[in-house]
């Protein structure tokens, strides 16, 4: 079941389970949340960005098990943009960013992050419904792409995306996502991991 914004405000103010609360920091404006009538809470752009070092590697091939996996710092470079400074996203470029907010989801809540349509209509696309699992804690990595034709200036602190929260039913309420991205303040690319089935299907020997 999707949570309305006023319910989110209620959970942020006085969690059902104080030992496993829903947390968003910096705290959104609870007064606005209570009266917004929406089903999401806006999230702001953080100060860290991560761009790919395109000249460092020829291509990405997760199936090539013989090649050494390049490290995150070989593949990408972080940039810090302080409050008040700007980052310019040029047409057709892709950058990882991060939410300003640190999110902590209790074990019975999951979420989806989507862009704000006002930015989308200007060409700024923010990921595709990134799922956030119960028990996640950290800042959310955002995938920003400018699909428009004009460069777009963005500044940390701008509301750039929104998170929809859902209550999670069933299962062991204490079982949480063991994601590698937990507890980070910077964007991170992580690794693409092939499961056993994908590895078998990728093998061309009969």
């Amino acid at each position: 079941m999707m949570l309305r914004a006023d319910r989110m405000a209620q959970l942020l103010e006085s969690p059902d389970n104080p030992e496993d609360p829903l947390v968003i920091r910096p705290l959104p404006n609870l007064g606005e949340l209570r009266t917004s009538g929406s089903a999401s809470v806006d999230l702001r752009l953080g100060c860290w960005f991560q761009v790919f070092r395109e000249s460092r590697f020829s291509h990405l091939d997760v199936y090539d098990t013989t090649a050494a996996t390049p490290s995150e710092s070989q593949l990408t470079k972080h940039h810090y943009v302080a409050f008040g400074e700007r980052f310019i996203l040029h047409p057709h470029s892709f950058v990882l960013a991060v939410t300003l907010e640190w999110i902590r989801l209790p074990c019975n809540v999951a979420g989806y992050v989507v862009g704000r349509s006002s930015w989308g209509r200007h060409g700024l696309i923010i990921a595709t419904a990134t799922g956030v699992h119960p028990g996640f804690t950290g800042c959310l990595t955002l995938e920003l792409t400018n699909v428009g034709e004009v460069p777009i200036t963005i500044k940390p602190g701008t509301t750039i995306c929104q998170i929809f929260l859902h209550s999670v039913q069933g299962g062991d309420p204490k079982r949480v996502d063991l994601s590698r991205f937990v507890g980070k303040r910077k964007p991170t690319i992580g690794a693409i991991r092939l499961d056993e089935v994908a590895r078998k299907l990728a093998d061309n020997t009969l």
């Binding site: 609360p21 920091r25 705290l27 100060c47 640190w102 996640f136 804690t137 980070k184 910077k186």
Partner: protein, 411 residues
């Protein structure tokens, strides 16, 4: 006069490098401003060299070139410092709270340059006339992402406070008297053995004899400044300062002690004394973390260091009080055990502080968790090897949330 040509080329190369540095991504405006100020210094030196026209005598030209070389020696490390301040390994989130603290202590015109050093010891460049109001604080490069060590900035800010408040001058005559009293008292036999021409009467009247003990006075001045800076660090960051001090310096740096600092064990004794006076709870058996340093191998240096040590000891209480009074007068907050408890609760639940705690509160909470062996054992998402990086991120995020609150509150 080829040396004039060499000097010009040296400056041309430096100015080209400054032009390159100007294209860096500066996380904060003060760093770029400092670079532009240095550029002015370099360009004006270069213009001076151009004025060395053919009619200058070799003596004048050599003097001018030598002076310009001095500027290069002085300011080249500053350029390196500025370059390293842009490196993304730095914990940029610490900049705003440290700058606010620096401005509280030193005035609203203060500009902060926070960077990393390829020198192990945290370092402060004292203000120069060419970079007025600039405070430059560096931490070891590989620790520059570690927010727990920012409490050592309290010591480095202490140097700027010492300079700005003219404390060197304030304590100078007292220190001089103590040095002389020490020489004439407990160290007289050793002193006369080293300097047979010295008598109690000619110590201050004979200019040659004066040269024998003046180094002890100089050592004592430096030592007293370092003690003051330790007290300032202790007052500003409390227990977190003690932990960071031990993290960086325990058990001791090998080799002979330098007479410019009290020996590590003496420093620790003073820190414990200051802790009692300021109301800081030192960790149990803190002194046991440190070892005795070797005395200077030169008997004369050893004697002069001993004299300085004895003279400084007399003034320790006074500089401790001075550090407290300055911090109190300037309204620098002391860490609050209640707020630390609140931050601890947040961090234990893997969420940053809500932005109401001071930097000292957050860092103190961080140190408590650093020493907590059970930290997040019941949080399966965090692997043991990730704990420190998660803790660092939470501390830094807490600082950023506080900055968000500060900026949005003001508007």
């Amino acid at each position: 006069m080829i040396y004039v040509d060499y000097a010009k080329r040296r400056y041309d190369a430096a100015i080209i490098e400054i032009e390159r540095l100007k294209e860096s991504e500066f996380p904060y405006a003060h760093i770029r401003e400092a670079l532009l100020q240095l550029e002015d210094v370099f360009r004006s030196q270069r213009i001076q060299l151009d004025k060395l026209i053919a009619k200058s005598t070799p003596v004048i030209a050599k003097n001018a070139c030598s002076q310009s070389l001095g500027y290069l020696f002085t300011y080249t490390p500053f350029l390196g410092f500025i370059l390293r301040s842009t490196n993304v390994r730095n914990a940029f989130e610490l900049y705003a709270p440290v700058m606010r603290l620096a401005r509280r202590l030193l005035g609203n015109d203060t500009k902060l340059l926070l960077s990393s050093e390829w020198d192990y010891s945290p370092f402060v460049y004292l203000p120069t006339s060419d970079l007025p109001d600039c405070v430059l604080i560096g931490v070891p490069a590989f620790e520059s992402a570690n927010p727990l060590l920012i409490s050592l900035a309290g010591h480095e800010l202490g140097h700027n406070v010492w300079s700005k408040c003219g404390l060197g001058k304030k304590f100078d005559s007292q220190l001089r008297s103590e040095v002389l009293r020490t020489i004439k008292g407990p160290h007289w036999i050793d002193f006369q053995t080293c300097f047979p021409h010295a008598t109690p009467d000619n110590l201050t009247t004979d200019m040659f004899v004066q040269q024998t003990w003046l180094p002890a006075h100089a050592y004592a001045k430096r030592q007293l400044e370092e003690v003051f800076c330790d007290m300032m660090g202790l007052r500003l960051f409390a227990e977190a300062y003690l932990h960071a001090f031990a993290y960086l310096l325990s058990p001791c740096i090998p080799g002979e002690r330098t007479p410019l600092y009290p020996s590590i064990q003496t420093r620790v004794d003073y820190l414990l004394k200051g802790s009692r006076s300021i109301g800081v709870s030192a960790p149990a058996e803190y002194a046991e973390l440190f070892d005795k340093q070797s005395a200077p191998s030169s008997p004369v240096t050893n004697l002069l260091a001993d004299i300085a040590d004895t003279a400084v000891e007399v003034l320790v209480d006074e500089v401790c009080t001075e550090a407290q009074e300055i911090a109190n007068t300037k309204g620098a907050s002391m860490r609050s055990p209640e707020i630390i408890e609140t931050v601890l609760g947040d961090l234990r639940m893997v969420m940053p502080g809500d932005g109401t705690a001071s930097l000292a509160d957050v860092v103190n909470a961080g140190w408590i968790l650093f020493h907590d062996e059970d930290l997040w054992k019941d949080v399966p998402q965090i692997q043991p090897e990730q704990r420190m990086s998660v803790l660092h991120d939470l501390i830094l995020k807490s600082c950023e949330v506080a900055e968000f609150r500060e900026r949005t509150r003001a508007s």
